[in-house]
């Protein structure tokens, strides 16, 4: 799903991650911040501190201009400042021994998995390192092994007991609530107030849709449905951000992993049974989806259900015949254009309808005869829009999960 390779090398996050992994050192003598008084371990006089400050300012300025990492010029400038102001004393930074931390974490894990043999292992490692590793864990339990293991046991038991109690509590609350719900299908339920009465009695006359569920969703409460479509679109965008694989890096990774590990190379499995079944089923499914979308105002269904059916049909087609066939008509460009057009049309049409119709002005859109396919004003185009958005979202979900792109 990518047109060009992103150059992440300059991004701050990438730099931070490499610094976190220990590959590079961001503070390599460039942006070191020194506190006054701390840096004068050797020469410690006021005049020296005053003379040292412009040097550091210069170095910092150099760091600001030479973002790309021109170390040699920086080094030369630092050497020049050293010649004029004398040798600089850089403060000692605290170094972290990650290997030691890891060893200590492994010990803690061992102590948890094998509580019996933990004593010997822990004391042995303690003796070998002179108690150096135990300081990292903090708390009272880390200083000696015995309270640590016991604390973990106590915590585990507490956790089990509390989870069971919490589960029982939630189940009890739900059951208690269910008992107090009004009976199913009763006429004097609180849900049967004036709102559904209005929808049922004058829904057909006001919206022109025989299926007044659709009339309710796409006319009285069209703004909610617009929000739903936007939620779907945002969800697909989030999946895109999370699962997208860059084209060039994905290929290089596929080459390095080999054909066995990467199923993208074997995408069409050429399963004859699946292909014959899809050959018969996919047209039926797609036609059924289109029927549901177009007949949303006449029969059960509508944009969301029809779009989901269409998306499922496309996914079946993709599974049977592979990405090469679907990419002829459904690429990222098509996805973006269709989704944007549908959402924009929905937004514009509904805002027009709201602004003109909500104040009891004439909206100017004829409702037509109820029951005809070209009736009920804006509901049919809005159904088509919602159906397109849902279809694209379902298909995009699948392709993103499958290969990290479209």
């Amino acid at each position: 799903m990518s047109r060009r390779k992103d150059n992440y090398g300059n991004s701050r996050y990438y730099k931070f991650r490499r610094w976190f992994d220990g590959d590079i050192d961001l503070l390599e003598g460039v942006t070191e911040v020194t506190l006054p008084g701390e840096d004068k371990s050797g020469t410690g006089t006021g005049t020296a501190a005053a003379s040292d400050r412009p040097a550091q300012a210069e170095v910092r300025k150099a760091a600001g201009t030479d973002r790309t990492g021109d170390i040699s010029a920086l080094e030369a400038r630092r050497r020049a400042s050293e010649e004029t102001y004398g040798p600089e004393v850089w403060p000692q930074r605290e170094t972290v021994d990650y290997a030691q931390w890891r060893r200590h974490a492994q010990e803690l894990l061992d102590a948890r998995i094998h509580p019996a043999g933990a004593d010997a292992a822990h004391t042995a490692s303690e003796a070998s390192k002179g108690g150096g590793g135990a300081e990292g864990a903090g708390g009272s339990g880390a200083s000696s092994p015995e309270p640590l293991v016991r604390g973990m046991k106590i915590f585990q038991r507490f956790y089990m007991v509390m989870s069971v109690i919490l589960c029982a509590l939630i189940i009890g609350v739900f059951l208690w609530t269910t008992v107090h719900l009004p009976p199913f299908g009763s006429a004097d339920n609180p849900a049967n107030n004036e709102v559904p009465t209005r929808y049922i009695e004058s829904g057909v006359a006001e919206t022109g849709a025989i299926n007044f569920v659709t009339g309710m969703i796409l006319d009285y409460r069209a703004f909610d449905t617009f929000g739903e479509s936007c939620v779907l679109f945002i969800a697909s965008c989030c999946v895109l951000v999370l699962l997208r694989i860059d084209a060039s890096s994905g290929e290089s990774r596929a080459r390095s992993r080999g054909p066995q590990e990467d199923d993208r190379l074997f995408e069409p499995k050429n399963d004859v049974i699946l292909q014959r079944a899809a050959f018969i089923l996919v047209p039926l499914i797609l036609v059924f989806g289109v029927y549901i979308v177009l007949n949303g105002h006449l029969s059960p269904g509508g944009g969301f259900s029809g779009g989901a059916v269409l998306g499922s049909g496309l996914i079946l087609y993709l599974n049977a015949f592979g990405f090469a066939k679907t990419e002829r008509f459904f690429t990222e460009k098509v996805y973006r254009r269709v989704t944007l057009c549908a959402l924009t049309f929905y937004c514009l049409a509904k805002s027009y309808s709201f602004f003109t119709g909500a104040n009891h002005l004439e909206s100017g859109i004829p409702l037509g005869t109820p029951g005809a396919i070209l009736s009920s004003g804006l509901i049919l185009p809005l159904n088509i829009c919602v159906g397109l958005v849902v279809m694209c979202t379902m298909y995009a979900f699948y392709t993103l999960f499958r290969k990290g792109g479209m």
Partner: protein, 87 residues
Amino acid sequence: MKVFEILLLVSLIVCAVSVAVIRDLLTSIIIFMSYSLIMCVIWVLLQSPDLAITEAAVGAGVTSILFFVTLKKIRAIRREEDRDEQA
């Protein structure tokens, strides 16, 4: 009809519990699919065919497929595949 409804509801509860209990992820997803199908029939019985269509397409179709793809990606159902290839 009453017996059919009770049967559906009981199997719904059985499916819901066993999805959480069963350890094998593949089996659990298939039970989840059957849960969605039962729910779809229940929606039809509750006279809301709109929801039934959506449940069948999204719950039993797309969601389960996404689960399958994820399991395959994290190599949780790779063993089955190897057995297929050896056979």
